[in-house]
Every structure is written in structure tokens, then in C-alpha cells.
Symmetry: D2
Subunit: 340 residues, 4 copies
């Protein structure tokens, strides 16, 4: 038995926890203005080759999404997202709660294209409709797919053409940037997006997202405080991200998560189960017979149901993380074989 | 040199950090629905003798304040607060950002009384004005004072008379409940308020506030998620609060903070400096000559300026915490004496 | 030449204007609390056979929609609308600006059915998603179609089953209730909806909508004032609605608008142009060759483009009103024939 | 008997009503984009000597205030107002409902000064507090006082120094600009404020305010629509303002209102009743013995109570308008004398 339910089912990577322990009784000023946060800001700017980027540390993904988006938009402006976009479906209307409409485009693979963006833009015009102003994408997407550099460049060009901000939700950015087929880098993201974040909660931290703001947004800290998103002991975010980023641990453990996911995918495929949307990253969505789903759950495996395919089959989601041991995958595959 | 700037200048009590380390690789479901959070909810209900209370764990104080308040109010309803109230002054308009006005009453000691509440209520009426609906107080207050049981009972009666919710900001509740002169208990708060919180960030945790909701608020978790306030690894909050609450550590360390503050107060008083508003808790506000203030800062002491008293004198704030060693206070007093 | 652009292209029915003139110098209290507004409230309750309904007078449709909806919902609750719903498309995100998501269902004829409503409801659940809570429909719909009593009863049953409010946008209610095929009455609407409004702006008034609230909403006037929707000289709304409703003028002139629309439809049909979605009311949507569209505009006719059908054809909209003379329709049809 | 309750107790000036009647069946496009609105925009720009000003027509004062303010501010920014400011007291938290805090300064005469503005500005700083960004004043103020040109210039200089917008609520602007002691003109206001409005509802119109925006605000019409503030038959506002402004009627009738108020004031003064705050405009606030107040009401006079002065005396408000006949004032004074 093992939980493949999510990539935040466990705590932090031991190195991160050790860093928190080592610095526990250092006295620092609060709210992310301490030397450790400053040091990681320098580090992130260097990793992104973005000396002018503003770096803000936040606690979670929904918080980061709503702050980045609401701080960039005026009241009449709207978001463009894939219909599966996390902000559209799974954040309890957090964007609308800040006053902004989310306009959606149907996208089977969870990715936006210039054509999809333009289909929304061209359907709007004049003061009786909202003004689409920001494109929300995620990498990896909610269904595990990733953007290539060419795709992101095309989106950037589309955004420039239509005066749109481009915001990339990087809750699973580590897995995106280490997935087979990826050719994007942090410096690419700093050039191609107006803002993106390096997700820590789902890749080795207790909690934390590092927002990289590539467009001027001088009062962002006012927004953070106003939304209750400024951590008193802000240092905790700096310490954690330093442990993760200073020597590449972030990418190493994300690569591991992907490897475990692909090992799982290959094993499931070998047993004859299909994956309708191929994913190269740490979320895998096979279609299983319902009786197999039930049998796995009886064995104690935890995972989420994505959607019913037909009366006998369900598309489920398996998520691996930096903490998933190879043995857990292998045992699972054996148990899956037994369920057939 | 020592920082008396705030009570969140350091990390967590070692026992709390140990608990996080011990449970780090437990796999649990997210968002505060895990067994550890559930166990602490049971514990808190028991400590409060409030079997029907809803317990929610949040990351920080501003977040908790805005969520508790906004989730209880309808759009036309307003908050009553002391003019010094944290939600009125130091949260960047977080309540207004949820759509609600904060109506203030001038209170030299930071506390609200039935008379002050009624002065606001009686000044409102009819649909051209907001409807005051919730009284916001804090214990300890922003200037270190505390409520007695009789005072809180009187406020409760006033709220009942006027159909008002009573919400108590407990960011420094530990210090309030262990201060000399306090006669309030957790069970009292559960009876006398509609909601209050047990502040952890300022008393031993890395972060965390435990909101005790004594009035029905069935969709509070929807509000949490919508405002970006639902921690993915919610377990972290349960684990920390368990370490703090299971054997009374919360009160022990708060008492220590108060003792250090009163030691500091007595020493400063002995040197002839006045404290215009007496505080029995871990924030102390003496008036010092500006040259003494400067001299202390040159020695490396950190603390905040509260306000200028006249051209030569400043009211400053010294804050102690669970982590303040007696030696730090004694050294400070010696250094202060040297500054005279 | 004539403008078929909209049903608010002209002023008020002469009887309405006369009533405003006759009462112009009467001194009354403001904000809709005057005797004339009160008299019309009594009249509307009688017409609706709804002695307990609350009647509120508002200036325009978007204002009425956003107030009715926002006053009924809690922050986490959402609206269900057809994808063509006016609140979803043509009100500049007014609902989202009050904090609420609009969830849409695709509906070719602009109407919602229990099946469509349930497709949205069943796709939501738990605190990570908004809670659908109010069904928004319009009668006539944005594309001229109307609800039957059976259809509305079925929606009501669906709403009851799922705990949903049912709100009916009646901007063109006069035309709906007098269209061929209609079997709904004002008393039906008072029973079957939680709120609906009797649209005046598009049917004989200078401006004005009468909201009939069939569910408790005691602080609605606070909401009105807060949103800037309480007319100082509220009497103007009472006077106008009295002129319109006291002797059935409202229905007489709506019937006229429909008759003009159907006369136009029949004439256009006779010339061989199709109407993909049949409409029995005062909005007609034929598909015309682009060169005919251009020729009509050259002749000075005004009307809106709905959407491009193919490179050579456009679906356009013709709207008639209480003020449309039969001769304008006949001349138009002659001119259209000339354009062939 | 007569109602001195408010300056919107009656309808429109007969010339305005005639203009509405004369143009009633003209077909025009909606939403304020018609030729009549355009013509009045040209006229207003000429009257203000402000060729670049944007002119927007709105229905009422609260609507205009909230739109002008919310469209200029970012979420963390706040308003500075006198404690008596209409937006602070009598608009049901409409500004807060758009997310912005109203910071107040105590002002006995209802006016703001640079000193008062700076007392608020200097009390704010850093991301834990809102950022004051817009100064709200009204002319005449809520208590009838007016600004001089020197006072407004000083406020403008203060606003420039601190990066603040200056917004002037002109609900009673006609009476301000025609009051004894006034030396301000429309061109002055166009130079000295970022936005102001020419109030029509309280000076001769059925309804309507003409907002003059002197600072770029390109998406204001989006805001209007989103808040439900865009009148479908926008032409009604253009027609009314044209009748009022084309030949100076606006100022003539405002001057009349003032004259009636001063006649009333002089008569009341002659009877020995004091006016604690002198007002040169159409609102007068004498202090009367309660038995006189009661006696006047028994005679059928209507007016509002401002506040209780002591157990025996009340400060009341008498408001005159363009429609107040001299005879009504004289009869009132005679009746008042009888009440002594």
C-alpha cells in the first residue's frame, strides 16, 4: 500500500528540514525582508539570468495564482485559461472572488495555443464585455503535459500582439523542466512570461512558492499583506528555497519524481492499460476497469478518480513525488498485475 | 544586542520542530483533513469544553482575521473595532478588500467597551449606512492590555442586545491568558465569543493559528480555499498545535514571555522611564529620550518605534517571546543603564 | 430607413411621459419610499397574486441582475447560466465583479433545462470548487425564445432538488408573456421563481425594472444603496410603472412589438431567408447574404450583427418595440425585396 | 406646509422635461454614444475650457462617486475624506464594497485642508498599511460650506506633493459655484481636480450627474457597464444636461436655491436661532428648541434632523431647491414665528 494521491502527501526533503532546524533560533526581521530571503532572491535571479526580476515568496499555489493575477489586472480585465485550468476549476472561484472573470477555451491536452487564445480574444470587444488581459497556463499542466520552448514562444508572441500578460503556474515546474521532451529553462521562463513561479510545496518543501515577476508590479507586497499572504516568519521560505535551489536539489528530486512516474506508466502500459493523454511527468492518468480500481483501493492504495470513462472504466490519477521510493512503484505494479 | 522587535523573530519551540521532524515522511491526505489535524481538533474542543466548536487551522493572523470576519458578514455589514485595532491599521485594508467597512471607536487602552460599541451602533441606522454586525477585539490588545472576564461578559451582553457577532483576535492569546490579572480561560472564550483564535505564530510555532468557531459557519472551508488560505500539507498545522497544546506547553512558554516582559518593565521603571499605558503582557511601551533610543540602537538592540511623544521623547515597543532568555533582558537593562 | 437596433432606441410611451409631466412638481420623499412607489408595489403584488413579495424598483437590467444575484449569494456560491446568458457575455463581468463565478452550460436555443443545470451541479462538489447556488434564466432569452410553463415548472423542481435559487431576467418579459405559444403569467412567475423582474426599459419606460423578490432578502435596500442603485427621485420609477401597469398597457404594447416582429419575420421568410433559431418574440435573427446586409445599411437601416455564418452570410438581429410602426416594417420589407 | 427635506424632492425643471418630451421619439443608439450626448460633451468641455476632458453621464451621486474612485485606484490604495464625507457616512460602505478603505480626518466645517490630508498621509507608510491615494472632497460640503479657489489650489498642491488624486463630489456644485463668497469656476475645477462632477439630480434634472475626468482613465466605460451604471437610453442624460447647460439655466436655478436658503437663514436668525456652522448655500442648519421642531412638523413641514444638541435643542436641516418658491419660505418664517 502506498498513497499516489498527491505530491504533497509528505513533508519536506530532509535537507530542507535540516536547514530549518539549523537556523531555528536565528533572530531575523519578519515578512520576507530578512537576509536569508534576500540571499535566495539573488540566487533565483542568477538562476533565471533575470537581474531585474522581483522575487516574492508565498505559501501556496492558490494564493500565488490569485495574487499574481489580481495584482496585474484592472477590474474590467479578465483571464484566459484552458477549461481544465486549475484557477478555473479547483480554486473555489478565487479569481472571481478578486473580481475577475475567467474566460475558458476547450483544450483536450490542458495546454493553450495562440489559436485558442485568439478564439477568446476575438470573441470580445467593447465595453459590454470583459477585456481579456492575462493568459494563465501551467507547466506541467493539470493533466501532466508540458510546454516546449517553441510553444511558449508562440504564446508569448500572441500575447504581445494582443497586449496580454502571460502568467505560468509553476506548482509542478520542477517536474516540467526535468521531463523528457522539455527544452525550457528558468532563463527562458524569465524572458517569455510576465510572471511565473517555482513551486516548492509539491517538490520538496514543507510549503512555499517563489514567484518571479518579470513585469513591473511595485506594490505587490501591499497586495500580499492585504490578502493575508505575507508570512510573519518569512525567513522560513528563504531558508527552505535556499536548501532546495543552492545546489540543484530542486531539479534532482523532480527528475526522480518523473522517473518514478514513467516507471509506473511503463509498467501499467505493459499490463495493457491505456493512457489517453500521454504525460511525461509525475502525474499519470491511465484508464482502468472499475473492478481493478476497487481492488487496488482494497489493497490500501490511494489515488484520485479523474473521471468516469464508461460504466465499466475509470480514468484515475497516480502522482509520484521526490519521496516516492522505487520499491513502492514496483510493489504497486505487482499488485496491479495481481488485480487483473 | 538582542532583537525585541517582535514575537515572531525566531523559529519554533524545539518540541514543535521535533514533532515536524518525527512525522515528516508520514503520508497523509492534504488540506487539514488528516488524522493529526482531526486529533488536535478533538483536543482543542476538550480544552475549550466546546464539543460543538468548529476548529480550522490557518497560517497567519491577517488571514485568520479576514476569513473569520468575511465569512460571517453579508456585504452591507460592517466591523466595529478600536481605532488601534490591528484590522483597522496594520493589515493593509484587508477587511475592506473583502468589501466591509471597519467602523472605529477611539480607545486609549486599545480595548472596546459596551459604551464604545454602542456609540458606533447608535450612530448607524437605515439603508444609507452600513450595518454594524461584528465586534472585533484582540486579547492581548495591540498595546498589551488584556480583557477581564467581567469585561468580556459585558461585551457579550452588549453584542447580544444589538445582534452583533463577537470575534476575538488571539494572535497573542497565550500571553493574555497567562498575564497577571487575567481571569479568562479557553472555555470562557468559547462561551463568550462567536469566534476566536489560539495564536501559534507568536507563541512557539513556525506558523499557525487555530480558529475556534462557536457559531454555525458551515462553508468556512470554501472560504478558506477561495482566499488561498488552505495549506496543502495541512498536517503541518495539526502536528505543530498538538506539540504545543497536548501538555500545556502553550501556556508555559507564554508565561515565560510575560515574565521576561515584566522583568524588563520593572528594570526600565527602576531607571525612571514611564510606561503611559500599563501592560501586563509581552509587549511593553516605555517612553525614552531620543538619545537613549539612538544609543540602544547603536548597541545593536532592535525594537520598533510606536510614536513620537514630543521632540525629545519617543514611545517605543519591546516585545519578548517564548525564546527570550533572562540573560538577554538583564544585559539589556545594564546597557540601558549605561545609556543614561 | 429605420433603426431595428434595439428596443430601447426611443423614449417612453406617451402615457408614461404624460404621467411624469403631471406629477413633476409633487413633493415626495426620496429613494422609492414615496406613496406612488408604494401604490405600484401594491398593484404589482396584486397582478402577481403575491401578497408577500418584496418589490424593488431599479434603473436598468445589468444593475438589477447583479443586485438580485449578489444579494442572494454567499462568497463561495456561483451562478449557472446558459453560455449565451446576458450576465455571462454582455455585462462586462458584473457578476464576477461582485465575487461570484458564472458556470455555463451550452444551450443552442438560449434556454436552460434541468439536464443542463444538473450537468453543472454534478460537476461540482467539495470545497475546492465553487458551489452552484442560483440558476439565471431570461424570458425572452437573448435569442428571442421563450419558456413554457411546463419548462419553468421542471426547472423549479430541479432547483428545489438541488437547493438552487431560480432568478428570471425579465428585461423583455412583456414580449415573453404576450408571445404566441406563451402560457406563463405573472402569478406563475411569482410562484416558480425566487426572483424575477418586470422589464420596463425595453417596453415603454424611459428606464426602470421592477424586481419581484419571492424569497426573503430583508437587506436588499442596503445592497441597492451600496451599489449606487438607489434612485434619489425614486418616485420616477413608481410613476412610470403605474402608467404602464395600471390598465394593461404593458402587455398591449409588448404584444404590438411581437406583432411587428412576426410581420417582419413572415416577410423575410417569404423572401427566402432562413431563421435558424425560431423566435416568437420581438427579436428576429435571420441569415442574410452579406451583400444584402450591406445594401440595407446603405439604405440607412440600423441593426446588429449577431455572428458570421460563413464568408458570404451573416446572422443579423432585428428588434422591434412598442414604438415600431407597421409602416416601418412594410417599408423595410419592400426595401429588402429590392436588395435581392 | 412645505418640504425642506431635500433638493431632490421634486421633478425636473420644466425646460428639462420639455426637452425630454420634444425628443421622445427620436431613434438613437444607446449607452450614451448618441449625438445628443456627444453634443453636450462638447458643450461641457467648452464650459470647462478643458478640450481633453472625458465626460461621462451617470444616473446618481453614489454611483458616480464609487465609479470615479474605484476606477482610479488599485486594490491597496485608499481614500482620504472628512469624517462627514458622504462616501464615509451615507453611502452604505459603497467605497469599501469596491475594496478600498476610507481614511478619515476630523473636520468641523466639512472641508479638508492640506494639514488634514497630511495628517492622514503621514500616519501611513509601508506595506502593512493602505496607501492613501485619492482625496475626496465635496463642494458644497455635506454641511453647506464651500471651498475658495485659494483653498482648492492649496489642496491641489498638497495632492501633487504626495501623489494623490483629487476628486470633487459636485452633487451640489451649482449651489457652490453661485454661493456668496465663491470664486471658483468650472475651468478652475478642470485644472485643479483630477475629476469632478456637475450634479444634476439636485439641481433641475430628473436625474443625472456629468462626470468630468481630467486624468487619463481610458476604460471608464467598462467600469460603468460592470457596475450596472450605463443607462440604456443614455440619450436621456444628454438631453437633460443640454437643456440645463446650454444657456446657463444650471447656474440661474442654483442661485435661486441659494437665495431662498439665505432668505430662510436670515429670517430664522432674526427670530434668534443660531446657525453653529455658517452656510452660504442651499442647506441651512439652525439649532431649534425641540418644541419648535415638533410644532413645525405638526404644521406639516418636512425637514431632517441633523443631530441632538442637548436634551432640549436639535440641529435641523432645511434644504431649498430650484423649485422652492419665495412664498414657501415666507410662509414658513411666519409659521416659525408663530411657534415661538
Amino acid at each position: 500500500m502506498y498513497s499516489f494521491r498527491n505530491d504533497y502527501s509528505e513533508g519536506a526533503h530532509p535537507k530542507v528540514l535540516q536547514a530549518l532546524t539549523d537556523t531555528n533560533l536565528e533572530q531575523t526581521v519578519g515578512y520576507g525582508t530578512d537576509p536569508r530571503c534576500e540571499a535566495v532572491r539573488v540566487l533565483i535571479r542568477r538562476l533565471c539570468q533575470a537581474p531585474d526580476a522581483d522575487i516574492h515568496f508565498l505559501v501556496g499555489g492558490t494564493q500565488t495564482n490569485l495574487l499574481a493575477i489580481a495584482s496585474l489586472l484592472r477590474p474590467h480585465e479578465a483571464v484566459i485559461a484552458a477549461h481544465t485550468g486549475h484557477v478555473n476549476v479547483h480554486e473555489t472561484g478565487s479569481i472571481e472572488a478578486t473580481g475577475h472573470k475567467v474566460c475558458t477555451a476547450f483544450s483536450p491536452d490542458g495546454k493553450l495555443t495562440p489559436e485558442l487564445v485568439e478564439s477568446v480574444v476575438s470573441g470580445h470587444g467593447g465595453e459590454h464585455m470583459v477585456l481579456p488581459r492575462l493568459v494563465y497556463i501551467s507547466d506541467t499542466t493539470e493533466i501532466g503535459t508540458i510546454y516546449t520552448k517553441a510553444e511558449l514562444q508562440a504564446l508569448r508572441a500572441c500575447c504581445d500582439k494582443h497586449g496580454l500578460f502571460l502568467f505560468l503556474d509553476g506548482a509542478r515546474l520542477g517536474c516540467a523542466l526535468t521531463a523528457p521532451g522539455n527544452d525550457l529553462t528558468l532563463p527562458d521562463l524569465a524572458v517569455l512570461t510576465d510572471a511565473f513561479y517555482i513551486g516548492g510545496t509539491k517538490n520538496g518543501l514543507l510549503f512555499g512558492e517563489a514567484l518571479v515577476m518579470n513585469t513591473p508590479n511595485p506594490y505587490f507586497r501591499w497586495h500580499m499583506k492585504q490578502r493575508g499572504a505575507m508570512l510573519a516568519k518569512g525567513r522560513l521560505l528563504g531558508v527552505q528555497f535556499q536548501a532546495l535551489l543552492e545546489d540543484g536539489l530542486y531539479f534532482d528530486i523532480a527528475r526522480h519524481a518523473n522517473e518514478m512516474a514513467l516507471r509506473l506508466r511503463d509498467g501499467v502500459t505493459a499490463l495493457g492499460y491505456p493512457f489517453p493523454v500521454p504525460s511525461p511527468s509525475n502525474q499519470q492518468f491511465p484508464v482502468l476497469p472499475n473492478r481493478v480500481v476497487d481492488a487496488l483501493r482494497e489493497k490500501g492504495y490511494e489515488f484520485e478518480t479523474d473521471h468516469a470513462v464508461d460504466v465499466d472504466h475509470t480514468c484515475v490519477r497516480f502522482v509520484t513525488s521526490w519521496a516516492t521510493p522505487e520499491s513502492a512503484v514496483d510493489t504497486f505494479l505487482k499488485d496491479l498485475a495481481d488485480c487483473q
